[in-house]
Symmetry: C2
Subunit: 130 residues, 2 copies
Amino acid sequence: MPLAKLVHARFGTLSTVRPDGRPHSVPIVFAVVDGALVTAIDHKPKRSRRLVRLDNIRANPNVSVLVSNEDEDWTRLWWVRVDGTAEVRDEAGPDWVEALITKYPQYADRPPDGPWIVVTISHIAEWTYS
Amino acid sequence: MPLAKLVHARFGTLSTVRPDGRPHSVPIVFAVVDGALVTAIDHKPKRSRRLVRLDNIRANPNVSVLVSNEDEDWTRLWWVRVDGTAEVRDEAGPDWVEALITKYPQYADRPPDGPWIVVTISHIAEWTYS
């Protein structure tokens, strides 16, 4: 069940840790491919491709990805959190681009070309209100 | 503008860092009171009140709170991220309970009674697609 919620979640929050010990979080879109979570630095406007998240992962590969259901009816709240280790890659693995385009039609006209972050999942935690 | 988005956001993600250097994130509801961000450990079901987030903050007060607009129209995406230092308190400060009840009618029948996390904001970053 938590894996299904993760697979279908439209957005997640990727948290990394800066070299000085401060946390850093950004929203991401992602796909689960062969049990790993993959996300791309894509064409959404950014100041540069030298991003804090990439520098952080290169220095400390421990990451967390949180997906959550937000609802004003708090009995419907739930979240799933992945703990894992991340790696930055310049090239996409097999099926990564296709998985992201299938999940996100927004990518169809302009597929993500990386760099890529692939998260090897070490633990999945889940919380539901009820 | 980023402060207004923060003040009105219904949910946020609180990120802390574990003593072993791994990030930890949970969804929160919160209010901004006198320029600080306050959130309570409330009555939503949890395994215990001895929570990872509290232990993390006591060991490393650096936290990040992310609020974001999720939309399938990616041109409407935005996020605001607060960096700050957090403190765990057993007692609410003046106006904290009232601020949370005003923002969240869900709390009216059962006001949060803590423990509390108060985040002194040191930096606000903002991103918008367009």
